[in-house]
Symmetry: C2
Subunit: 265 residues, 2 copies
Amino acid sequence: MIDLSSQEKIKEIDDLVSGWIKTLAVQTKEQRAKHGLKVSNKDGDHRNLVTNIDRANQKVLIDKILALDPDAHFVCEEAGEARAQSMDGQVWFIDPIDGTLNFVLENRDYAIMMALYEDGEPVLGWICDVPAARLFHGGQKTGIYENERALEPLTDKTLTDSVVIVSGRRLVVGEKPYGELAQRACAFRVLGSAGISFTRLFAGSAQAYLSKLSPWDLAAGRALAEGMGYQVKNLDGTSPNMLLSNSVLIATSSIHREVVKMVKD
Amino acid sequence: MIDLSSQEKIKEIDDLVSGWIKTLAVQTKEQRAKHGLKVSNKDGDHRNLVTNIDRANQKVLIDKILALDPDAHFVCEEAGEARAQSMDGQVWFIDPIDGTLNFVLENRDYAIMMALYEDGEPVLGWICDVPAARLFHGGQKTGIYENERALEPLTDKTLTDSVVIVSGRRLVVGEKPYGELAQRACAFRVLGSAGISFTRLFAGSAQAYLSKLSPWDLAAGRALAEGMGYQVKNLDGTSPNMLLSNSVLIATSSIHREVVKMVKD
């Protein structure tokens, strides 16, 4: 168990892990530039990619956490690690490369994400936009930062005045309420990475994000978004189950109310 | 008339205009940071925005061109300048802020765009991603550059292996073939700015872009894209009319063939 009993202790863990991730982000870019990528498909799906760097990054982060807490529990994207069966106690979430398709095809808009939860509640989250070298980190108790800069408190905007980000895949197959949300917003974006979508919310470039997210896609973003005052809820208004996939809306309070109404009507 | 009779003369114009745009990009960011924006709607549409900076930038660029060629003809986004009635001779295209909605709401992903055509053919194009300080410039005769760096020649990729960018507005109202193109590509993106979408093609992060574009949205991107080997055609295979709006597909040759077939079937 890691001592998270005071703001100072939590801040120490934030600083420590932020250092790991910054180093790993630099190494990720260097490795790709020097050695290229070994890419394979997961589950025979040509859109679901994994690379040697996804796997290597996950191992680096797990080893560092285990050195800190030999009994740590994990929920990781890539195979190879036993998955936590409950949210009791402390659970670490790791997405070693979020947006692997972007990493492979676009060489931009991918992220390293980590989060630490205690008894089901987010304590700290980290999302590093690797190509842009921007690390968003912190939580409810420490405040939310972009690199060293504390972020502005959230302004509550309505849908008509907002930019929303949606999962392209769910929009294009006609899943509700993706199309209606996109149409009613001032503008919408499709970016292909949960981590990068979250960074747009933190930077104030967008006010809502709707997608179906796996635990490792959601955990860090939820910790940071809730720390800034965003609502993070399933479309039926319940809290996400952090061990399953959820259709989650991360949005200002006003947009959340509008979408819950949209879904009911 | 500007002398465009040799590669050297064209290169001189490229350098000159690149200098104007770089300066204007810095001023645009400074002005916004210092004085904020005066925003108004065009045609009573809350998504069609114009700011004081759009208007000021257009005037700066027109004045510079008129100092070079007092008889210059223009096709500009903002009101106030007589619009060229034909593509005979030399025509300058100006989009003083492309992605004004992004400029206002997101403070990222907007561009300054210019192009010079002679007798209907693109000679030079400039697209400056203002927040990222990346200027793409050049043409068929000079080569295509990102700032000082010559860009890689185009690799011909097929739809299944490609990232495509589409107009979100046209996708979400069900216009053909936006949805099918998005579904059949490896991934798709919605970015909200023609200029920024073009820069993704030039940087190799995407391989196709489909949208309905006004002349000032298309002119610079067409000059640069054709210079790199992209096909720039209407969905029926004809060449865009540079004085009207066009539903244009900018894509690798393979993707162009696939989409023309998709539209016919």
